[in-house]
Assembly symmetry: C2
């Protein structure tokens, strides 16, 4: 796409989006977090062209988000498993899910719900907390550019 690359950006948000901010990667990761492992599972779930899926999977493996493993059943094929780096995207997917649930569905419209396995109760909303446990809103935080020398005001996030 010749789009401006941000892999070298100083901003972690930009770097993250550069890695997984396309239209398919996060959906693949969502499915992987959901237990999917096989090419065909992804393909059927996403309805994406096989060629595109191949590209995306290869890219996710290259990024260290997925890894290839021999199939757990007898088959001669491989499976795509989440690495720790990939599993760490859980909060990203959950935050997207929670935002969508709250703002993208009509009042009466039913939507799926993320529940705690133990007790089957809905999970809480993700909340950002300070080191002493206070809940932090978007105005309560500042991006400090470098661990050491620091500008005071909110600057580039």
């Amino acid at each position: 796409m010749k789009r401006t690359r941000m892999s070298g950006a100083a901003c972690p948000v930009a770097r993250s989006l550069d890695a997984i901010g396309d239209w398919w990667s996060l959906l693949i990761i969502r499915d992987a977090l959901d237990g999917m492992r096989r090419f065909g599972e992804f393909q059927k779930s996403l309805g994406v062209a096989k060629g595109i899926l191949t590209t995306r999977l290869r890219n996710l493996v290259a990024l260290g988000i997925l890894e290839l493993a021999p199939a757990s059943d007898g088959s001669a094929y491989q499976e795509y498993l989440l690495t720790e780096k990939g599993r760490a995207l859980f909060p990203v997917v959950v935050s997207l899910r929670q935002w969508g649930e709250q703002y993208l569905y009509a009042p009466g419209e039913a939507h799926s719900l993320l529940v705690d396995n133990e007790g089957e109760r809905p999970v809480e909303r993700l909340e950002l907390r300070s080191s002493d446990g206070r809940v932090l809103g978007w105005t309560d935080t500042t991006v400090r550019k470098l661990p050491s020398s620091s500008p005071k005001r909110r600057s580039q996030m």
Copy 2:
């Protein structure tokens, strides 16, 4: 891009990505959360072509994520302010930020840090919690398709 639309998807993650899952929107929102309001600020910060920025801003306004307001200074122009729906994307941006900080920088490489305004201490990582306060990992949750009738195993997220 003629890509498959997911605005009608049953999965909130897909709907969210359909709305803001492109290469610029979340960066605009990041900047807006950072206090930016003016066309020129976004343009300079992102280094994006003006035409593209116009499209994206218009789309975000149409989605109800940004809203137009008269300029706070004397100027005759308008400002783009986050709505509540837009501010609710804070956890999404933070989760991307934290993931990037942890996995996208070389060991020695310095990166910016999100700090609590009060005390300037780094924030905690976002954690998902159950209704009784336990921290939940990705294996501790299940997507229940509809609030009522529910399959047991992890299914489409």
